[in-house]
């Protein structure tokens, strides 16, 4: 059984004149432990897809099933109960926005457990997993560097031992050294069997991690296949354009 199953998903936003189709007929499956990269540029609908999977925007039609539960039909209450179970977690681009500025790192990490009614005493080991020193436990987010904060955000996503983590541009705001560290970490998560839905505009940062690549273009999923195949034999014209456009060191030297 798939861990995540998005079927024929449509999302419209109401506008003063008519509707804006953010997503049209998008279908996507993710198996347990699988990592899929969803690539899209401005206006592709990638953020809408992230928000729909997290229950932040209601689908206009179609279904979203996560771990056997049809969450697309859930109301607010049911979503709350579903989130509390911690099967699905997320990491966004800007860790300052996903960490409460008034909570220490220890409190932030313990929060997902508290919500489940458990004590949050054993959060230390999650800092270990993201290679941060325990000395940071009593600091506030503002006292950490951007790279450290993003690793805390990953640690926070891990404490409920989720089956699926949604990552929306998780390394786009980081410098090269921190990008490498966070990507390394995501690779370890993948190897440890956590499924990742990695959404990004940057094919370059996703390709090294994803088992599969899906390409969103103007609200439609135009390509979905194994990473190597999508990169070496893209089928859709837009995927080809995208791949030709990405600057690579190899092209630079052979050009």
């Amino acid at each position: 059984m798939s861990l995540l199953e998005v079927s024929d998903l449509d999302v419209h936003y109401r506008r003063r004149r008519g509707r804006l189709h953010a997503l049209r007929n998008v279908s996507l499956r993710l198996d347990p432990g699988e990592t899929i990269g969803v690539i899209g540029e401005t206006g592709s609908g990638k953020s809408t897809l992230a928000r729909a999977v997290l229950g932040l925007v209601p689908p206009s039609s179609g279904r979203i099933v996560i771990d056997g539960e049809q969450v697309s039909s859930y109301g607010k209450r049911q979503w709350q109960a579903f989130r509390r179970r911690g099967i699905l977690q997320y990491v966004f681009q800007d860790p300052l926005r996903s960490l409460d500025p008034d909570l220490t790192i220890r409190e932030s990490l313990a929060e997902p457990l508290r919500i489940q009614g458990r004590t949050g005493e054993n959060v230390r080991k999650y800092l270990d997993r993201v290679r941060l020193s325990e000395d940071l436990l009593d600091r506030l987010p503002a006292e950490l560097s951007g790279g450290q904060r993003q690793r805390v955000a990953v640690a926070r996503a891990l404490v409920s031992e989720p089956k699926l983590i949604l990552l929306d541009e998780p390394v786009s705001a980081l410098d090269a050294a921190n990008r490498v560290k966070v990507l390394e970490l995501l690779k370890e998560l993948r190897d440890a069997g956590t499924a990742l839905l990695f959404i990004s505009h940057d094919l370059g940062s996703v390709a090294g991690i994803a088992d599969r690549i899906a390409v969103l273009y103007q609200g439609e999923l135009v390509e979905d296949g194994p990473t190597r195949q999508v990169i070496t034999e893209p089928r859709h014209a837009y995927t080809k354009l995208l791949i030709d456009s990405v600057p690579t060191l190899r092209k630079a030297v052979t050009a």
Binding site: T42, E184, G208, P247, T248, L249
Partner: protein
């Protein structure tokens, strides 16, 4: 003779040195790339060459020569005369360099009127010509449009049109494609390449992305924390990087990017 020559340029804020000696020589029609992240000093170096360092920050060592002229101690008036006509620049966020309440065309025509002394009608014609030169599909239509009506890529093309309006010899592109989608970035990089080939415009291309710089340039400087940690031809820097930081930048592309799929295919 070099068009732009920096020799051991040092930049400081109230006695604290921020850039510790940058040297390069840009020949007519040449391209030099600077790679570095925020805080590396790449933008300060560019701003020094444009005479637009932020308040309190000054060039405290070395020399900058532009078109055979030492820029040390030249006044505001002389800077104004040089900018646009000899050296020009485009930056990351095109929308913030345009007045939202004026049409694109009127802002480019103004540059042409002030810098080249053209009359109103001639300035308008020249502006439309320039919008065509940066390959905007319908230049006369774009001339009438306001910034909010254009996409990011169209705005950056318009700013490049404004930057080359007075026929500069050097164009600095500082993270000029960073905020754009990758497909649009490729178009803008092509445009810069063509401008160079067709008009002999010399370029300084600045980016945090080694691959962007490597694609356009012959010589590359890698900067970190105010220091040039590596400098050489693209071939040298990519194939025989000497500094650990350069190796990290390359490794990032090779290990986490998709280069490996291309290599083995």
């Amino acid at each position: 003779m070099s068009l732009l020559e920096l020799s051991n340029v040092r930049i400081s804020l109230h006695g604290e040195e921020l850039v510790h000696g940058v040297s390069f020589a840009l020949e007519p029609g040449g391209v030099v790339g600077i790679v570095g992240e925020s805080g590396s000093g790449k933008t300060l170096t560019c701003r020094a060459a444009l005479g637009i360092l932020p308040e309190g920050i000054t060039v405290t060592g070395g020399s900058i020569e532009l078109d055979g002229r030492d820029l040390d101690g030249i006044g505001a008036k002389e800077w104004t005369a040089l900018r646009g006509t000899t050296i020009s620049a485009v930056f990351q966020d095109p929308a913030s360099y345009l007045n939202p309440s004026l049409t694109i065309g009127s802002q480019i025509a103004e540059v042409v009127r002030v810098k080249l002394g053209l009359k109103r009608r001639a300035a308008r014609e020249r502006a439309i010509e320039l919008l065509g030169a940066v390959r905007l599909r319908d230049p006369a239509e774009v001339y009438r449009q306001y910034p909010h009506e254009l996409s990011g890529g169209m705005l950056q093309r318009s700013l490049i049109a404004a930057a080359i309006a007075a026929g500069p010899k050097v164009l600095i592109a500082d993270e000029a494609t960073t905020a754009l989608d990758v497909t649009v970035q490729a178009e803008i990089l092509d445009l810069l390449r063509d401008l160079r080939r067709e008009t002999g415009l010399a370029l300084v291309v600045v980016s945090h992305d080694l691959a962007v710089v490597a694609q356009l340039c012959e010589e590359v400087l890698v900067m970190r924390a105010g220091e040039v940690v590596e400098q050489g031809t693209v071939e040298q820097v990519l194939h025989r990087p000497r500094h650990e930081y350069t190796r990290l930048l390359i490794e990032e592309h090779e290990a986490y990017g998709w280069e490996k799929y291309l290599v083995s295919s």
